[in-house]
Subunit: 295 residues, 4 copies
Amino acid sequence: MRETWHERFIDSPGVLKGAAREQTIVRVLDFHVGGNEFITMAGPCSVETEFQLMATANHVRRAGARILRGGAFKPRSSPYAFQGHGLEGLKMLARAREESGLAIVTEVMSEDDVPMVAEYADILQIGTRNMENYSLLEAAARSGRPILLKRGMAATIADWLRSAQLILNNGNPNVILCERGIRTFETATRNTFDVSAIALLKQISHLPVIADPSHAAGHRELVPVLARIAVASGADGLLVEVHPNPEKAWSDGEQSLDFAGFDAMMYDLEPWLELRGRELERREGDGALPMEAVG
Amino acid sequence: MRETWHERFIDSPGVLKGAAREQTIVRVLDFHVGGNEFITMAGPCSVETEFQLMATANHVRRAGARILRGGAFKPRSSPYAFQGHGLEGLKMLARAREESGLAIVTEVMSEDDVPMVAEYADILQIGTRNMENYSLLEAAARSGRPILLKRGMAATIADWLRSAQLILNNGNPNVILCERGIRTFETATRNTFDVSAIALLKQISHLPVIADPSHAAGHRELVPVLARIAVASGADGLLVEVHPNPEKAWSDGEQSLDFAGFDAMMYDLEPWLELRGRELERREGDGALPMEAVG
Amino acid sequence: MRETWHERFIDSPGVLKGAAREQTIVRVLDFHVGGNEFITMAGPCSVETEFQLMATANHVRRAGARILRGGAFKPRSSPYAFQGHGLEGLKMLARAREESGLAIVTEVMSEDDVPMVAEYADILQIGTRNMENYSLLEAAARSGRPILLKRGMAATIADWLRSAQLILNNGNPNVILCERGIRTFETATRNTFDVSAIALLKQISHLPVIADPSHAAGHRELVPVLARIAVASGADGLLVEVHPNPEKAWSDGEQSLDFAGFDAMMYDLEPWLELRGRELERREGDGALPMEAVG
Amino acid sequence: MRETWHERFIDSPGVLKGAAREQTIVRVLDFHVGGNEFITMAGPCSVETEFQLMATANHVRRAGARILRGGAFKPRSSPYAFQGHGLEGLKMLARAREESGLAIVTEVMSEDDVPMVAEYADILQIGTRNMENYSLLEAAARSGRPILLKRGMAATIADWLRSAQLILNNGNPNVILCERGIRTFETATRNTFDVSAIALLKQISHLPVIADPSHAAGHRELVPVLARIAVASGADGLLVEVHPNPEKAWSDGEQSLDFAGFDAMMYDLEPWLELRGRELERREGDGALPMEAVG
């Protein structure tokens, strides 16, 4: 099967594991994504107000997050929805970094905005709708910032890796893949969380892979269990939506955790993360959980 | 959201959790599916020979399985493929039970075969292609045997629960749901393992839910990690394909584990199952892992 | 491409066009499905009352239909919905045939019902949910009646042809394929009408293919235009839901045409059917519209 | 249902038919898209050489095409594939317009390229992968050129109309929608041609809608029959890939017609287009084929 899989991904040789190729470890501030640590990125869907952002940053940091997420530019599917604060939002994110010590990940939606967003953010997010916007991928790659590449709604794993390869081809090795669910016939969840894609990618690729349980589920009740599943899948971290008052969020409130919900999730993840850590130690920190050794 | 979900499943009130409704616990021989124990069902796709079946039964029992799976009637998508040994296969399964002490789960594909299959099997499996074969559901329900109801390839969770409800309506409360992946555009895996469906079902329904990582993945390399994911999802057990020599299996060899692979999987699952057990104890055995309490 | 396609359908050699193989023409009463005539099958989703059925039969016959459809056994997805009149419904259908001269197509859902349904119906319909119910396919095949085989919701064309092949293997060459839409992420229509499947099947297979615009659309406003599209696709006929009072239909009312709507559809189809007829004549009645000759 | 549909598309009021709103008719050179004429856009996937382009332009013009298609910038899914000639390709397209009198439609993939592409092209194409690239949509809209908006692979009709609305919101009313198939589980065709989407859009929207049978089918043998189906669906035109030597095309050769194939298609479409014309006349040129009146 390995051979079959490698043929399927033949357009993207640079992202596949090979004899000499080590695991990609992305340095961000004073920590790493893709190493042994499980990294939680948390924060609101949109940067709304100074208060909302600071309160969230301080809270999620205390609960164990390392990276603050928040949208300054929003790819809202409706042209009448809130479009984001733009530059002002980026400045708020930078102030939140100063105050909290968290790194910042935020989406860039336009090639022309890349220099501005790269000035303020530690990681540039390429959103689901832009996974195959090759001009944006190239511009973001050339900024030198690590790239968080979300999977497109109808993107196969092979498509996704081709977009990652394009970033590498533009001189940027620091790509973090993010599984956020694919679009299928099932509507009880907002998307269908393709956890097998994470498991498969950890076997064939050296790139870090994280999970976005918020967009996968679309309902906050499912977010904690999907986070636990992500830990078991071998993912390197989480991207989670948290809001001080989800009922009043300007976007995606239904899938955002409130502070108490985030605390409960982090508390309950602890034994699962400890187990993950023990397994990694046993494997001498090669980034793979034991199951991957079977193949 | 709870309300929304309940509306979505309004045709199937009997399978939903309610104030007074306790978790469904299905007694099989001397153990239970849907209680605190995590139950592994393992065995070959098809019953091929006495030797193949006995060797597998003895092996998986020693590794911790409680139930032997094996097809005597095969819903082979090609009319030229092996169709199964029929009654002779059922008798082999019964001898394997005697010898190994394992319970037997096997698929019934025709309403006319229900009495015969029910005579030999402890659990009747309704296959993916028959999830909405209402005549078969009714006949199987009335046999009094517990029913393992696999999800249809394009069945929504709501569709699936309607089929479960139909079994309840025919006087049989012992339904075990089995997630085995849905059909989507992604072809790197045989099906798309909808683990969110398991998580969601554990929140809204009192029925036991198990996972079939073999059909979900379609490649044996992914089976162990999907099994670990199933544990984290709150599933009540596994249905796994195991064969003494997968390369020579008459069907589904690519997704079958060999004995060593099965042993490795069971060994590596142990700490994850211990953790699951501790969490359940902490929750006083109500069948829900901690995360479910957030919603 | 032809080669590729033939490889894809290699399990079903008997349904593919070959050098010597002629178009399958299914004789029903005094007319044919799969010959040059475009056959319209129309009637209610469910047989409800004598009046409803007779009124519909007489109306659709005058408007040009040759076959009356109507369900005596209903595969209702909800166990609480109307399940059909059963034998009494079959008898009503037989009386409608006597009175109107129309042939009868009705669904059989259980292998045990095959002899009874075959006694009353001219064509046995295998429904979407049972396309891979191999026991039912075999029983229906052996009845000797022509089989209308609806496509499963998640069935590929290759899966569908395998089921057709199974019917042929059981001694029954009279299979009519019916495209009724597949399940996808799009919800504006009830299903996604895969008209390319009809076009492709007319190129590779000698079996007649008809279209069910009612289930494909799910909304009556789209039914006439999908019917016109079916004519252009090379389909051999239509299966359309018609009801005297769709607002009060016991099932599928939203997608049923009323009598005036059916008349308007048939009237507006006329020039398109005339054009289809001229094209067939030009091709000396080989069953293919001109476009198919390009390949 | 009308009400339901309108609710579904409530974010995009400007693209829906209303009491006073007339059909959008897009003027291009000396003809119109969205009026009574059926407009064929044809040409190679990629602009390869001067000879290839001129030969194709002259040929398709003589066969009845009004617009020349050809990619100067290619959104190739593999980063190793041919990326297009860029500016040189645009200049070749402009020379082909001068020589042939055809209008030019070509894809723009980057906001920064919009001014340059708009200088040479008569219609800017937004490709499938960029349907929700809102920055590009805005930049393209503000160029003042008509926009050909291809449907995203996993875009619902509602998503697609939101993108169209965004173009209108940026001051550009000249949007032409192009159905090119959606991504589903079926792999016998490259995409699943959602012809119901065309039919539905002609009922609810005043925007012109065309069909791309080449990408929908993925195999040239199906292109002519899908073109005929598009005529029956009420579409306003076609976008078809034509190449002097498809076997040697640098991209998409398998789905490109050669000159003889294009001639045959255009010849065989003639009676269907005549019929379409007569129906439109009968309806006094309101842009709707008769079937739409039933709803």
